[in-house]
C-alpha cells in the first residue's frame, strides 16, 4: 500500500466516524430541529472527508476531480436543504422540544401562514 492510499483511508475512516456520530445524534436528540443540527453538521463534514479521502486514495484525475467537486456541491447544498427543512417543518406545525428555552420565530411563522392562506383564497 502506498503512502497516499494510507492517507486516503485515514480520511475515509475519520469521515465514517463523523457520519456515525451524526446518526447517533439523529437517534438521541429530542426534536426535529436539534436532529437537523446533528445531521447537517456531522454528515456534511463526514461526507466531505470521505470524498476527499477517495480523491487522495485513488489519485486518478477523473475520480479525484469529481470527488472534490461533489464535496463543494455538498458544502453549498446541505445547509440550504437543512434550512428549507427546518422552515418547512415549523410552518407545517412541528413543535419545538418541551424544554426549549425560547421561541422568537412564533409570530413571524403566524404572519407567513396568514400570507400563504391569503394567497390561496
Amino acid at each position: 500500500m502506498t503512502s497516499h492510499e494510507i492517507v486516503g483511508y485515514v480520511f475515509i475512516c475519520v469521515g465514517a466516524i463523523f457520519d456515525f456520530f451524526g446518526c447517533m445524534g439523529l437517534v438521541r436528540l429530542p426534536d426535529v430541529y436539534n436532529r437537523l443540527q446533528a445531521a447537517t453538521k456531522c454528515v456534511t463534514l463526514g461526507t466531505i472527508f470521505i470524498l476527499v479521502g477517495t480523491a487522495i486514495a485513488t489519485a486518478v484525475p477523473a475520480i479525484a476531480i469529481k470527488a472534490i467537486l461533489c464535496a463543494l456541491f455538498i458544502l453549498i447544498t446541505s445547509p440550504t436543504g437543512a434550512h428549507a427543512l427546518a422552515r418547512g417543518s415549523y410552518l407545517s406545525g412541528v413543535k419545538l422540544w418541551d424544554k426549549s428555552v425560547t421561541d422568537k420565530f412564533h409570530e413571524r411563522a403566524e404572519d407567513i401562514k396568514r400570507s400563504y392562506s391569503g394567497e390561496a383564497k
Partner: protein, 169 residues
C-alpha cells in the same frame, strides 16, 4: 461579455465533472464534448445576465483575497461545530438548551446573505430557520446563551459578517 464568461466557466466545470477521456487510450470522446459545448452555451445565454456587472481588477483582487481568508476560517468553524455536536451527543446528560432566537445582519447583498445563512448553519450549535427582507435571521440555537437580539447577534453573526462584507460589498 458576461455571457461568454459564463459559457466558458460552465464548460470548464462540466468538463471537470465528466472528464470525457477514454480510460485506456486517453482519447477525447467527441460526443460528450459537443453536448457539453451545447449545454454550456444554453446556460450562458439563459443566465449570463445574473453575473454582477463588471468590477475593477483591484476590487476583484480584494474580494478574492478575502474569500481566501474566509475559507480556512469557515472550515475551522465547521470542524469546531462537529466536535461540539459529537460532545453533546455522546455526553450522557445531553447538555442542550435549544431555542429559536432572532438576530440582525447588516449585509444587503443577497449572495452575501445566503453565504452568511449557510455559514451559520454549518457552525457550532446554530441552524438558520428563516430570513426576512429587512435583515433579521431566525436561528435555532442548540445552547441558547442569550435571548437578547444584540447579544445573540454578537455571538452568532459578527464573526462572519465583517469578512463577508468585504467579499460581497
Amino acid at each position: 461579455m458576461r455571457k461568454v464568461t459564463l459559457i466558458i466557466l460552465s464548460f470548464v466545470i462540466w468538463f471537470l465533472l465528466v472528464w470525457p477521456f477514454d480510460p485506456v487510450s486517453g482519447a477525447l470522446y467527441p460526443q460528450s464534448t459537443i453536448i457539453g459545448i451545447i449545454v454550456a452555451i444554453f446556460v450562458g445565454l439563459l443566465l449570463g445576465d445574473r453575473i454582477p456587472a463588471r468590477l475593477s481588477p483591484a476590487t476583484v483582487f480584494k474580494r478574492i483575497f478575502w474569500l481566501v481568508v474566509y475559507v480556512p476560517m469557515f472550515l475551522w468553524y465547521v470542524l469546531l461545530a462537529n466536535l461540539d455536536v459529537v460532545y453533546r451527543v455522546i455526553h450522557p446528560d445531553m447538555p442542550i438548551h435549544p431555542g429559536i432566537v432572532r438576530v440582525k445582519t447588516t449585509l444587503k447583498n443577497p449572495a452575501g446573505r445566503t453565504m452568511l445563512a449557510n455559514s451559520i448553519t454549518l457552525t457550532p450549535g446554530t441552524l438558520t430557520v428563516d430570513i426576512t427582507d429587512d435583515g433579521y435571521l431566525y436561528i435555532h440555537w442548540i445552547n441558547v446563551r442569550s435571548d437578547d437580539i444584540e447579544q445573540a447577534t454578537h455571538h452568532i453573526v459578527e464573526r462572519f459578517e465583517s469578512v463577508l462584507r468585504r467579499i460581497f460589498e
